[in-house]
Amino acid sequence: MLVVVRAVRNIWIVFLKESIDNLRDRRSLFLALIYPVIGALLLGMLVSFVGGMFRGQGDSTLHLPVAGAERAPALISHLESKGVIIRPAPVDPRRAVRRGEADAVLVIPGGHAEKFAAQRTARLNMVVNATRLSTVIKVSRVVGLLRDYGREVGQQRLRAHGVDPGVAAPLEIRSTNVGRSRNLAGFFLNMLPPFIIFTIFVGGVYLAIDTTSGERERGSLEPLLANPVPRWQFMLGKAMATFAFTLTAVLVQLLAFKIMFEIVAAGEFGIKINPGLGAFIGVALLCLPLIGFAVALQIIVATVSRSYKETQTYLGLLPLLPSLPGMILVFVPVKAQIWMMAIPTFGQILLIGRLMRQETAVWLHIGVSVAATTLITTLLLAGAAHLYNRDRMLFGG
């Protein structure tokens, strides 16, 4: 029992020293806490920008320059009845669209009226610039209106000939979106896990480096190790300080995301995504074992590296690896399988996504993720303790 009390006391002394030491390093601390906020800020700006773009084109009145409007008065009045404001076309429609002076121009060619009157197929030209993504929605709306008009006229003609219009329309296609949130919102929510994972792997990395490689390079490691404390207790005290500062960075980031969502949801961006506080607390709890995993990896790398600089290089690469599956998941969502939950980082990415999208999270999956990551973290810490016990701890390598 006395041994346990002494161990806890020693770990606490080391933890306290490293924490106070790091709190006095104002610049590192500031940089470590500014990154998580910037992530939320960037995502918030993206959400408002894209949301604003979609909303502006989806709901607002549509202005459409038309060349040769006099050739199809019925079409024009149909468009106007759908709320489109018809404008005179520029002199050179192709040039105007290419230059971005107009998003799209409808050109009604000569001979349209005659063919239309003769009940033959009459051509319409849409001049568009497909490389300008911002016009895609507008163009598709106009094309949709034109198709509707064409189908209506076609059906009238068939009826006039005594034919059921259904004969000429063998398929009627309707799609039903069963995603609980809007698909655009879902896309942004999928971007959260990579941000959070990245913070987990960089949030306290400077502390892991400073307390191990830094301690060695400063020449303070040797006198420290001569104190009557088993080396694994030094390791654990340092790991816990790194853990605490990483957790702080993650919490700051989650708070920033929550605030960002509040602002976006309150604003007129057409996007109503705002995962509740419960989801954020769930994510924080899910992250705890993963933070331990990241810290243990950092300590191991810092222990076996030969210098501060070498450690920085390796640990700079470390966050890229776990972020990769998350980046891919933004674009290619996979079906969550239970074995995936046992992989640290990957399981958390899937589960954070589920919690944020407010889909029902499977408790078994959460349990497997927490248990597997905790177990692997414990093994890594045991490995780190072993490395601390080697002679080479003193010199690195």
Partner: protein
């Protein structure tokens, strides 16, 4: 009391220590002298438990430094070759950190820190952060944190290295004071004047072997040299002549 028996150590298959034996008694100052790369620092590192020997044993008050690490660590105060400080901690906080790691705390620890600050003349910088400390100030902090638990055995690796005359003298006075309290002092040096002025016993180490061991006057008689520096050079020359492995100075790992 410190005893070393048949101590061996290799780095990357280069034998740095080739089996050394000596004893440093309580109430005596024992000086370990030898050229750079002779194995002084490696010997001390195994004594203060940061390296493990390949062969042989190192005892502190009868406890094996390799087996009873914690017991040995409680009985020694160490000023290693590396004596770096934490730039963002004050001098006093350094001493407090080590004191707490030795299980001390409360008013008892604080009064010990106060005594050390006074004894080592650290009043001017005791509450300043250590960034920018001079060599002398750094050494005083390193000494204070090594002595805060009042160890029975004190191991100092080149304690006056890089110090000015005034600071060196202060350190020498402190070492004598520790000896006069009946404690065991083992220190390494390559400055003959210092060894001459301080040591009750001199151990000359060269190329991983002990080539001479005795009181300064005994060594003078044995070699027929009047000056300890000449004694030192003579013993090393004799050892080199006798050993086929001679001259190969190994670098400090």
């Amino acid at each position: 009391m410190i005893e070393v028996r048949g101590l061996r150590k290799s780095f990357n298959k280069i034998e740095v220590l080739r089996g050394i034996d000596f004893t440093a008694r309580n109430g005596e100052i024992t000086g370990l002298i030898g050229p750079n790369g002779a194995g002084k620092t490696t010997t001390l590192r195994m004594l203060y438990t940061v390296l493990r020997p390949d062969g042989g044993q190192a005892f502190v008050d009868g406890h094996d430094a390799n087996i009873e690490r914690l017991t040995v660590q409680r009985r020694i105060g160490v000023l290693p070759d590396n004596r770096g400080l934490y730039p963002r901690l004050t001098a006093r906080e350094h001493v407090r950190y080590f004191g707490r790691l030795h299980g001390l705390g409360g008013p008892e620890l604080e009064s010990r820190i106060d005594r050390l600050v006074e004894r080592l003349g650290m009043e001017d910088f005791a509450d300043r952060r250590s960034k920018g400390f001079s060599k002398g100030q750094t050494l005083k902090v390193a000494l204070a944190r090594a002595l805060v638990h009042e160890p029975a055995n004190v191991i100092l690796d080149e304690p006056t290295n890089g110090l000015d005359i005034g600071s060196s003298r202060a350190v020498r006075e402190l070492i004598r004071e520790i000896r006069d309290q009946g404690r065991c002092v083992l220190f390494s040096s390559h400055i003959m004047g210092e060894v001459e002025a301080l040591c009750d016993r001199v151990i000359v180490i060269s190329d991983g072997l002990i080539v001479a061991n005795g009181k300064p006057e005994e060594l003078r008689q044995a070699t027929g040299e009047g000056d300890l520096e000449d004694v030192f050079l003579a013993t090393i020359r004799q050892a080199e002549a006798a050993s086929p492995n001679a001259g190969g100075s190994t670098s400090r790992a």
